[in-house]
């Protein structure tokens, strides 16, 4: 407040300084003009006085002649013995007037003027006039005495009369001449005075004109300078407003846009903004109704100046706002900032700063995504640390070649459109295997990518016609998986090198143990996602005697069957309890060698069994099979359906099952091994898949087996 008033004071002083020259010049001009006016007044009043003097000295000439004339008239009357009192009276009046006037010329005094009114007659003061008056007085004093003696005597005294007339004859003309001299002199004086006055007036006029010109010139110069400064400031402001990246403008309490607007605003708001335009309708087009309403309140609160600015800053609903775009163009984000412009505790304007923050927001989003990715990487690292190195290496090699196969399939896809379904099914099997294995090893990132790939394949399978874009996204997804695999390979290589450098070689876990660990991990994961509690019993020691390829194939079979078993085979805990079974299910996988040295691989669960009618019902509800087909097929054919590519009765699909690919994969793997799949099942009791590792391929199915098949 105090600083405010000081600054105001300073500002006033500054203004005063700025105009000091002009103010001084104008004051001088006025003083000078007043002085000239005063002088004029003074001279004209003295000229008035001079006029009286001239007038009265002129009258003196007339009075001297009248005195002489009356005196002669009295003498003529006296010679004829007559006496006229009027003449004496006039002589008295005329001579007395002459006397007073003459004395007043000498000393200054009141005299009767021409209009019979008393007037002040100033004494003469120039040498010539004084001389004239003094000489006149010398003549007049004796003349006056002679006249007085005539005026005062009651009878005519001819002697005195003669004396007076003689004196008059002798001096009358002298007196007239002197009075005439005086008049001329006075006139001359006045003329000189008047010409002086004219000179002074002329000089004063010229001077005042000069002063005036000076003022005008100075003022113009100052004005031009000030205009120049203003223009410069204006130019600078315009330059700033034209170059600044932010949208800048002032908002008045009526919420109209001020006159100074930065050029970029139109582009940022994608709306033309001009002075005095109401701001709120522009905003309304940009943001959602909800944000618009709070923004309106917010701006009004800012003008209210009740709530602190720092608090208001944190509440700005437009600090980062997604802008509604007309077409389907990329989303834009704007940031509006409002700052109060306060004078005398009043909010005069709001300074509005608008920025396009789309880039920042997108970057932040990307950063968040990257952060998520690094989380994934961390999980990956954890999984890799836990995984068995040998198994991992095997998985990586295998997956690498499998991905190459998919790549090959995709590369040839567009040439044979008729075989698209084939292509999808082939890819499906491979991807599904990768998914299962990655889940078993605990590589969730790859599992997720494989699941995504599968989803897209399902989508493609449902469609009759594919467009190029849809096919093209397959290689993209494939390369994403490949990238992950490569990344894992790099890490694994590094870890292995590190491990070898730091540890003396110790016996690695047996193959059977690591397969068991993988299967247990998978079961745990599927249990969790299916919300089931299935116990896994494994007896896999014979795997240690087999070649790695077969072990790998067996593991894949195990993965698919465990997954299927938990998802479809084992009932929910409630359903099991209702059937009188223990709440938790069991799946066992056993390897067994008979006397001939042939190994059996057996997977058995104590779930609901494979019931043909249940499969029929599920086929019907899925809506993918007509009731005719469903009822035409024999029970065995129905069960065989389970092994067809793409068969599924599940409506929803999740990470674990429902794609209709698992059993298809199992079948083809057993074919590769050269085994013969045997399925034994009893409704609500058990299901057992078993095969020998021999040269046969077709499954044998027994729907009414006894429980002691094993």
């Amino acid at each position: 407040m105090s600083s405010n008033s000081t600054s105001n004071h300073k500002q006033q002083l500054g203004t005063l300084n700025k105009y000091r020259g002009i103010i001084l010049a104008v004051t001088l001009f006025l003083v000078f003009n007043l002085a000239v006016l005063g002088l004029n007044f003074y001279t004209s009043s003295t000229l008035d006085g001079d006029a009286v003097s001239i007038n009265l000295s002129g009258r003196q000439r007339m009075l001297s002649q009248r005195t002489a004339k009356v005196l002669l008239a009295i003498q003529v009357d006296a010679a004829q013995g007559k006496f006229d009192a009027k003449n004496t009276e006039e002589l008295k009046k005329v001579s007395s007037l002459f006397d007073t006037t003459l004395n007043s010329f000498k000393t200054g005094g009141m005299v009767l003027g021409g209009n019979e009114k008393p007037v002040f007659l100033p004494k003469v003061n120039d040498a010539a006039s004084i001389k004239a008056v003094d000489e006149a007085l010398l003549i007049w004093q004796p003349y006056k005495k002679l006249l007085e003696s005539i005026i005062q005597s009651r009878v005519i005294d001819e002697v005195r009369l003669d004396l007076a007339t003689d004196y008059a004859r002798e001096n009358n003309l002298k007196l007239l001449k002197l009075m005439n001299n005086l008049t001329t002199q006075l006139e001359q004086n006045t003329k000189t005075k008047a010409s002086h006055l004219q000179l002074i007036q002329t000089i004063a006029l010229v001077l005042s004109l000069l002063l005036f010109a000076n003022i005008v010139f100075n003022a113009l110069r100052k004005l031009r300078a000030a205009d120049g400064e203003i223009e410069k400031a204006q130019r600078e402001t315009t330059e700033i407003l034209n170059t600044v990246k932010e949208g800048l403008f002032l908002l008045d309490p009526e919420l109209a846009v001020g006159s100074q607007i930065s050029r970029s605003i139109d582009q940022i708001l994608q709306h033309e903004v001009s002075a005095n335009m109401p701001f709120m309708p522009i905003l309304q087009q940009l943001v959602s109704d909800e944000i618009y309403t709070s923004s309106k309140d917010y701006i009004q609160l800012l003008f209210g100046n009740k709530v602190k600015e720092s608090l208001m800053l944190s509440l700005n609903p437009l600090s980062q706002v997604k802008v509604l775009t007309k077409d389907d163009s990329a989303p834009r984000y704007l940031s509006f900032q409002f700052n109060r412009v306060v004078e005398n505790k009043q909010v005069l304007h709001l300074l509005v700063t608008v920025q396009d923050v789309t880039e920042q927001v997108t970057q932040a989003e990307e950063l968040a995504k990257l952060k998520g990715q690094s989380n994934i990487n961390l999980e990956l690292l954890k999984a890799l640390l836990q995984a068995d190195a040998f198994q991992l290496r095997q998985f990586l090699n295998h997956t690498h070649s499998n991905l190459a196969v998919i790549n090959d399939i995709l590369a040839n896809a567009d040439k044979r459109a008729a075989t698209h379904t084939d292509m999808v099914n082939q890819c499906f099997r491979i991807i599904h295997a990768i998914k299962g294995e990655s889940a078993a090893i605990g590589l969730q990132a790859i599992q997720a990518l494989a699941h995504q790939f599968e989803e897209h394949l399902v989508f493609l399978r449902k469609k009759n016609e594919w467009d190029a874009q849809e096919i093209l996204s397959l290689p993209v997804m494939l390369s994403a998986i490949l990238e992950q695999i490569t990344q894992i390979e790099t890490i694994t290589d590094f870890m292995q090198a590190h491990h070898q450098a730091n540890h003396s070689p110790e016996s690695p876990p047996s193959i059977s143990t690591s397969v068991a660990n993988n299967l247990k991990r998978l079961a745990e994961q599927v249990n969790q996602s299916q919300n089931k509690n299935v116990q896994l019993n494994l007896e896999l020691t014979l795997l240690d005697q087999m070649d790695t390829k077969t072990v790998h194939q067996l593991q894949q079979i195990g993965i698919q069957l465990i997954r299927n078993g938990i998802c479809h085979g084992i009932e929910s805990a409630d359903a099991r309890l209702a059937k009188g079974k223990p709440s938790h299910g069991e799946i066992s996988i056993t390897t067994r060698m008979n006397q001939e040295g042939i190994i059996d691989f057996i997977v058995r669960d104590d779930g609901q069994g494979i019931v043909p009618n249940r499969i029929r019902a599920a086929m019907l509800t899925s809506g993918r099979y007509s009731s005719e087909i469903v009822h035409q097929l024999s029970d065995k054919e129905i069960v065989a359906k389970l092994f067809e590519p793409g068969f599924s009765t599940s409506n929803g699909t999740d990470q674990d099952a429902g794609r209709g690919v698992g059993m298809d994969l199992v079948q083809s793997l057993i074919n590769e091994i050269g085994g013969e799949l045997k399925i034994d099942t009893k409704a609500d009791v058990f299901t057992q898949f078993s095969f020998r590792i021999s040269k046969h391929a077709k499954p044998s199915i027994n729907l009414n087996a006894t429980e002691d098949v094993i």
Partner: protein, 124 residues
């Protein structure tokens, strides 16, 4: 100076009381606490507090509505909104309805004391 605490959480109410008791503030008497807007209004009429700390999300009558009511009843009352809402719109609405300050939960002791000092200054 009389103060009323309005918050539906018992923990917050006692925390505010404790902070005020321990802080170097001009003498403040806590004249009442309320856990919803209706109680708060009744208490305000009875006790005429100078300052109110107000939660926004409460049962029966929420803080925004209660703020408007209290300000209408006593235009000189100072209301400090204390809310967990990260929803700016609600905060703005409360301020529009006459609230004088705003504090986000969770808040530190110092933040609350500073916000209260601000209101005390305004009240004087």
């Amino acid at each position: 100076m009389k103060l009323m605490i309005v918050d539906d959480s018992n923990i917050i109410r006692s925390r505010i009381s404790r902070i005020i008791a321990n802080a170097k503030l001009p003498p403040i008497e806590i004249v009442g606490t309320a856990s919803n807007g209706t109680d708060a209004f009744a208490l305000c009429v009875a006790q005429r507090p100078d300052i109110v700390t107000m939660d926004l999300t409460m049962p029966e009558m929420d803080g925004v509505e209660c703020t408007a009511l209290l300000v209408e009843f006593d235009p000189n009352i100072k209301i400090l909104i204390i809310s967990a809402l990260s929803d700016k719109a609600t905060a703005i609405e409360a301020l529009k309805n006459g609230a004088n300050g705003f504090l986000y939960k969770p808040f530190t002791d110092e933040e609350l004391v500073n916000a209260l000092l601000e209101l005390i200054k305004e009240n004087e």
